[in-house]
Amino acid sequence: MSKAFGIVNFAGNHIQVDGLQAYRPVGAFSFLGRYRTIDFPISNMSNSGIDNIQVYVRRKPRSLTEHLGTGRHYNINSKRGQLNIMYTENNRIGDIYSTDVAAYIENMDCIERIHLPYVVIAPSYMIYTADYSTFLSEHIESGADISMMYHSVDNAKEAFLNCGTLNINKQKGVLSIEPNHGNAKNKNISLDTYVMSKELFIDLVKKAHKTSSMYTFADILNEECENLDIRAVSHRGYFAAICDFNSYYHANMDLIDLKHASDLFSPDWPIYTRTNDSCPTQYFEGSKVTSSVVSNGCLIEGTVEDSIIGRGCIIKPGAVVKNCVISADVVIGKGVHVENLVVDKHARLIRGKRVIASPEKPGYIKRGDTL
């Protein structure tokens, strides 16, 4: 039982994932075949003893609502705990008024009614594991106003271009939060993950709201760096941000390597998800599957290489799937050759015999499309 409640924030307007995002919020994106990205922040919270969680969502909440349910599959006690989905009327993606701050203000009565002294805020578009109970206790011990997590990277020139970066001093004090301009290799990428007292959180939200209708929570933090004691806490281990289409593709492809996956998945830190009660996957004579991650419920007769296959997919004889991220319930027809693609749910690639994108710019097949 934590002294903190959790907030899982939606991906702000700086995050734009072409294609997939038209159908569901980033938190509901399929990840590594059987997960959704939101499974990571929620499992982190649940494993950290946080069982009172608010999940903020903007447009298209259905898949997220169904996936989260009452949170029992995340090990959240259904009486004592709470997993609430918080909606906002300002829900147009890209709308400058549709900020996290606006959503918090809209649901302020629900926030104020929570009887817990701290809040841990985490984003729905990042994949990492972290023990928030340590994060919280170290925060309390430090006496800081706010603690926030960052991850030092050496590829900030070409990656994390939409993310925030932290400017920190020797004592790990945060001097400013700036967008990543891609002007340097080494950057401290903000995990958009914070801990602070509930009181301060509410104050900051109200202040941000007063200051400007388009201020995000990161904006007000940046502005308060001078006044408040904001500490940066380094994160280690696997870390990926789904901040655009390419990063989505690569975060998935990265984890085909079991060594990378072992950095993220540990028996001590289970990542929970909703089961679909699919049966095991059937491999038939003639199937040839290598270097791939396969979910349950598939029927495989073709060739799969360096790919991720979602739940319930059918790979017909003679089909070749290479360097692809395939979502659930996709059909790859007889003799169809697909390469370097993200294929969205329920798509059927049957007629077009070769659908091949370049490895630099992976392609996207829409949800439910028949090709």
């Binding site: 289970p270 990542i271 095991p280 059937q282 491999y283 038939f284 349950n296 419920g297």
Partner: protein
């Protein structure tokens, strides 16, 4: 979901001693099957899919794993408001000492008080160790249509095997005129599946009488059904078509697993309109390595395959290291085959490790080899 006035009782007390080491620590209904399931998932999922809300599971021998497994009714969705899976081992009462169940009918008799709290109109009796998919709601509709006193599900077996079963002889309307337990010269090939629907009030009376009968075995097949037939009861046979298997031996358990490798196999676990629900184990998806070779396999999440898998069924968390070969075999949950080892025509029990370069089983063995102890390999 409205109660369809039928309560189900699953007889799950079998020791399953012919499954040897597999049932040393778990009761037979809890034995693993089909990659991610346990046998009792089948009757429980059938109940859930047939709209039955309340299920009693009669357990007896070495049942701690079975008891805690079925107690989590959420696994089959049997955890709605008026729904539940209740574990019913023998118990002490104010008027009776603690005693084991003396037979299938006695197991029900000892739980009359439990059944009465739901006052069902119909009682469905099931066995906890059969693998099949069946809509009990259809059987109930048939039972009502026939205005039967009892309805018994039957399956056609090959005539030459009929003498191994309890055989129902019926007239042209489907009414049962005779029941023969393992007849030497069977008159029909309709074998009882051990699935009964009774009208509860009527059965209740019979059970109360049976409990007092010193000559009774307190068994449905041996006592209750014959008594109903003798007294001119209206018993009907409900013909079931489809996959049905009682996995009593290591060979038949292996076989039932191998059946799943067939394309369009009769059991069809992939049918989304009749899912079999089971424990939701936290596991990664299947990881298939760069040098893996898989043809004809049934593999579930948590498996890591770097070697060769042919004609085999791999349960949750099974691992096949690079250079290892698994052929015509079943790897139960958590079984691991180390580099260079070869497993052929074997059933490797839960969590068993096959060491480096070890060779287990053989292609021309008569029986399937059960591997229930660690096999050391090269160190």
């Amino acid at each position: 979901m409205k109660q369809n006035n039928m309560l189900a009782m699953i007889l799950a007390g079998g020791r399953g001693s012919r499954l040897h080491d597999l049932t040393k620590k778990v009761a037979k209904p809890a034995v693993s099957y089909g990659g991610k399931y346990r046998i009792i998932d089948f009757p429980l999922s059938n109940c859930a899919n047939s709209g039955i809300d309340v299920v009693g599971v009669l357990t007896q021998y070495e049942s701690i794993l079975l008891n805690s497994y079925v107690a989590a009714g959420r696994r089959w969705g049997l955890d709605a408001k008026d729904s539940g899976v209740y574990v019913l081992p023998p118990r002490e009462k104010s008027d009776a000492n603690l005693d084991v169940y003396r037979g299938t009918a006695d197991a029900i008799s000892q739980n009359i008080d439990f059944i009465d709290t739901y006052s069902p109109e119909y009682l469905l009796i099931l066995s906890g160790d059969h693998i099949y998919k069946m809509n009990y709601a259809k059987m109930l509709a048939y039972h009502k249509e026939c205005k039967a006193d009892a309805t018994i599900a039957v399956i056609e077996v090959p005539m030459k095997e009929a003498s191994r079963f309890g055989i129902m002889n019926t007239n042209e309307t489907g009414r049962i005129v005779e029941f023969e337990e393992k007849p030497e010269h069977p008159k029909s090939n309709l074998a009882s599946m051990g699935i009964y629907i009774f009208n509860w009030k009527q059965l209740r009376k019979m059970l109360l009488a049976d409990m007092k009968d010193p000559d009774s075995n307190h068994d449905f097949g041996k006592d209750i059904i014959p008594a109903m037939l003798n007294s001119g009861g209206n018993l009907f046979a409900y013909k079931f078509k489809g996959y049905w298997k009682d996995v009593g031996t290591i060979d038949s358990l292996w076989e039932a697993n191998m059946d799943l490798l067939d394309k369009n196999n009769e059991l069809d676990l992939n049918d989304s309109t009749w899912k079999i629900y089971t424990e939701d184990v936290t596991a990664l998806p299947q990881y298939i390595g760069a040098d893996a070779v898989i043809d004809r396999a049934f593999i579930t999440q948590g498996c890591v395959i770097d070697g060769e898998v042919h004609n085999s069924v791999l349960f949750t968390g099974a691992k096949v290291a690079a250079g290892a070969k698994v052929i015509n075999s079943v790897l139960m949950p958590g079984a691991e085959v180390a580099e260079g080892a070869v497993v052929t025509r074997a059933l490797v029990a839960d969590g068993i490790k096959i060491g480096k370069n070890a060779v287990v089983g053989s292609a021309d063995s008569k029986n399937i080899e059960l591997v229930a102890k660690r096999v050391k390999g090269d160190e």
